[in-house]
């Protein structure tokens, strides 16, 4: 399994030429991005010189322990913060501000607008950002609400839904926009374990249906292996690329290869952190 892990010993080294050539066509390229943010008395470097690219229909997971800047990185891709150095391009265009071509699904349950029903929540971005006529927006919203199996809750207000249902609405809202990339920031982290597994299965099912591109942030190795086809491993303080795992979907639960991969990734993530702290 280790041959699937391309370890990057020197994160500042340039990417191989072959790969650089193919990256011109990538859906999303993140090139040597350094991100810093301010707290009232500190300037914190969240990530340093992080590069990766996401292809169409990738299920790309950013994985790392807390403090590796994976959520910050996702926010930068979302356009909520600008890199100090480096660049982020989507479809060849630089990312400057948030936009509906990159729909976010957050961890928090309060991401739905409480004053709108499930249907209105899914319709709203279609109407304001995609400028669809109401009838068309409603039809598309209903289609995606059906996809996430919430047909019965179409006219409910978010406060009457359970956590898992709220996350389903958020996913339907993101997918109905048919964005270039769906950005998911630990969307299942606040759910109970049973619901989380169910949601992971449903997400994979949805992907089989529509083959959307998704970047998924998580700190659970098992979740990363289950969901992704590619994993970017980040090391903490500051976030640097440690390795990239490709062809993750070839790992299989039955023959134990998924368990082996999980162990390999775990060792890789925690091997150094011992003398670091």
């Amino acid at each position: 399994m280790l041959q699937a892990i391309q370890q990057k010993m020197d994160p500042t080294a340039g990417l191989p030429d072959v790969k650089a050539a193919s990256e011109a066509k990538s859906l999303l390229t993140v090139d040597k991005v350094t991100l810093r943010y301010k707290t009232p008395n500190l300037l914190i470097t969240a990530t340093e010189d992080v590069s990766f690219s996401v292809e169409r229909s990738d299920r790309f997971v950013l994985l790392g322990p807390s403090g590796c800047g994976k959520s910050t990185l996702l926010k930068a891709v979302g356009g909520y913060m600008a890199p100090v150095s480096g660049s982020i391009h989507i479809n060849g265009r630089p990312v400057k501000k948030p936009g509906a071509d990159r729909m976010m699904v957050f961890q928090e349950f309060d991401q739905l607008l409480p004053w709108k029903t499930v249907l209105e929540n899914v319709m709203f971005p279609l109407v304001v950002a995609r400028k669809l006529p109401r009838r068309e927006a409603e039809a598309r919203a209903k289609e995606y609400i059906d996809k996430v199996k919430l047909t019965r809750a179409t006219d409910s207000y978010p406060h009457t839904l359970s956590g898992g249902m709220k996350q389903r609405v958020a996913i339907a809202r993101g997918m109905a926009m048919q964005p270039d990339i769906l950005l998911m920031d630990e969307p299942f982290a606040a759910l109970d374990a049973l619901t989380r597994r169910q949601m992971q299965d449903e997400l994979l099912q949805l992907w089989e249906d529509t083959r959307f591109t998704v970047i998924f942030v998580t700190h659970s190795i098992a979740e990363a292996i289950k969901i992704s086809n590619r994993i970017l491993l980040l090391s903490p303080h500051p976030g640097r690329v440690k390795a990239e795992v490709i062809d993750v979907d070839r790992a299989c639960q039955d023959d134990g290869s998924a368990v082996a991969l999980e162990r390999d990734i775990h060792n890789l993530l925690f091997s150094e952190s011992g003398h670091r702290e």
Partner: protein
């Protein structure tokens, strides 16, 4: 060695219908249901207070100090029928609504500026800190010099009493909108005014409504006080002037009738207007239990 086993519950294995399902939901008793309505409880409370008033005033038997409830209600009815009270109420409400609407609009402009620009935030914060503690009524002498003895002086004072309360609450509400919701708004590409009206206003609606309620109460009190202290300020006086005038005539039941009218209008606005808005917005949205 045998592996783990799953033992199904008895009524699953026998595939029997759940016979005791009816007990999961039971209706409450009718007395409990009636007492569950807060309007009923409050009405009972008001009736009890009214009875105490009537009994105590009859016992006191001094209409100059404390008229009975029945005297007050009779006077109220007479003054309504002869048209004095309706015209006084109308005068007061006209001024009140003008001032209230103007104050609210100004508050909206100030908070929209404050949420979009830093200078706007500084301006709003400084102005609220300075003027919010200043009682509106204390500006009336000045207003009378600037605008003369007319409705415009009263409107000026009303704007002052409404503006800061509404602006303060609205701004606090905007600042309290969760980061996730703000990011969702940004994700939809909403900016400027459409961001404020489509995300911030509904998300901050509980605070805005509180501000509107406080503003209404401030305006109402300020106006009655202003009319009481400075008497008639336009062609015909309002409710405050009605109370003042009848005290001078020693028509105490009419004074009580005037006060009762003030209370009743306050109750109507609180219970009908604001509670209806609340029921159709923040209660429906689950922002208030």
């Amino acid at each position: 060695m045998p592996g783990p086993q799953i033992i199904l519950a008895a009524d699953v294995t026998t595939n029997r219908q759940h016979a005791n399902v009816a007990e999961v939901e039971q209706r409450l008793g009718s007395l409990e249901l009636i007492l569950g309505i807060s309007a009923v409880r409050k009405t009972v409370l008001i009736i009890v207070l009214a009875i105490i008033w009537q009994v105590y005033a009859s016992y006191l038997d001094n209409p100059l100090l404390f008229p009975t409830l029945s005297d007050t209600l009779t006077t109220l009815y007479d003054r309504f029928v002869d048209g004095t009270l309706p015209s006084r109420i109308w005068t007061t409400l006209q001024v009140l609504i003008t001032g209230y609407v103007a104050g609210t609009l100004l508050a909206a402009i100030l908070t929209i500026l404050a949420i979009n620009t830093r200078i706007g935030t500084d301006f709003l914060e400084t102005m609220t800190a300075m003027f919010n503690p200043l009682p509106a009524i204390s500006l009336l002498p000045l207003a009378l010099i600037w605008f003369g003895l007319g409705a415009s002086s009263l409107v000026f004072v009303l704007i002052h009493s409404v503006l800061w309360a509404v602006a303060l609450n609205t701004h606090a509400g905007f600042l309290g909108v969760s980061r996730t919701l703000r990011m969702v708004g940004g994700n939809y590409g909403l900016t400027g005014l459409s961001y404020v009206t489509r995300i911030l206003v509904p998300a901050a609606f509980p605070s805005i409504l509180t501000g509107l309620k406080i503003g209404w109460a401030f305006a109402w009190r300020t106006l009655i006080a202003a009319e009481l202290v400075f008497g008639v300020s336009s062609g015909q006086g309002g409710l405050g002037w009605f109370i003042f005038e009848n005290r001078n005539l020693l028509d105490i039941p009419a004074v009580f009738a005037g006060l009762l009218t003030v209370i009743i209008i306050g109750l109507i606005v609180e219970n009908l207007v604001f509670q209806t808005i609340e029921r159709h917005t923040i209660q429906k949205w689950g922002m208030k239990e």
